[in-house]
């Protein structure tokens, strides 16, 4: 089955800084999704990234805070900008269709701690 790699796996960041998370898929996919998993909360979709077009953001998430790039069909990045402790979370990349038409496959996640 296809592999999704995320980097970094974890990081500790200072308040006010920005961090970019990378997601690499070993096959070409049309849609890539970025989720956030805060402690004790459900997985929440941040945005959908399609190659060749701007990302579509869910309610409560904005491009200035979470800019996304999708330069090709196997790669995407999510930047968490001007971080605060409330941004401490696990960020997960996922793709659709690798294990079934409507099934999402997830990366291992990037655990960010903001001090």
């Amino acid at each position: 089955s296809a592999v999704i790699s995320q980097k970094p796996s974890r990081d500790i960041c200072q308040r006010g800084t920005s961090l970019t998370i990378q997601c690499q898929v070993d096959s070409q996919v049309t849609m890539m999704f970025w989720y956030r998993q805060q402690p004790g909360q459900s997985l929440t979709l941040i945005a959908t990234a399609n190659q060749g077009s701007e990302a579509t953001y869910e309610s409560g998430f904005v491009i200035d805070k979470f800019p996304i790039s999708r330069p090709n069909l196997t790669f995407s990045t999510l930047t968490v900008s001007n971080m605060s402790p409330e941004d401490s979370s696990i960020y997960l990349c996922s793709v659709r269709g690798l294990s079934g038409a409507n099934v999402l496959t997830f990366g291992a996640g990037s655990r960010l701690t903001v001090l």
Partner: protein, 113 residues
């Protein structure tokens, strides 16, 4: 607004003690209900998709069922390696992204020897 509620939040079982996890949902136009397993430090791993009321799917000690309002994940004679967080998600229509899964908070299962 779509809602997915999982219960219980946490469950502790003895090895071999069967039980069920519940996922209640309210969505406009269910297109699929998904069960995932998540181990600490890992991303969710797909288990099942259910599409219509009455549908059932099985995999080893796990069996998922679906009604019009809820889904159950039945665990028969669990083993310690079944310990994980089990996530339920629904796919509904009419999302901005055109496709998205709406997740519950999960049930944390611990199976002790």
């Amino acid at each position: 607004e779509d809602q997915v509620t999982q219960s219980p939040e946490a469950l502790r079982l003895q090895e071999g003690e069967s039980s069920s996890l519940n996922c209640s949902y309210t969505v406009s136009g269910l297109r699929g209900l998904f069960w995932y397993r998540q181990d600490p430090g890992k991303g969710p791993e797909f288990l099942f998709t259910l599409y219509s009321a009455g549908e059932e799917k099985e995999k080893e000690r796990l069996k998922a069922t679906l009604t019009k309002k809820e889904s159950f994940l039945h665990i028969t004679a669990p083993k310690p390696e079944d310990s994980a967080t089990y996530l339920c998600a629904v796919q509904a229509g009419l999302r901005r992204s055109g496709y998205a899964l709406n997740f519950g908070k999960g049930t944390s299962l611990l199976v002790t020897p």
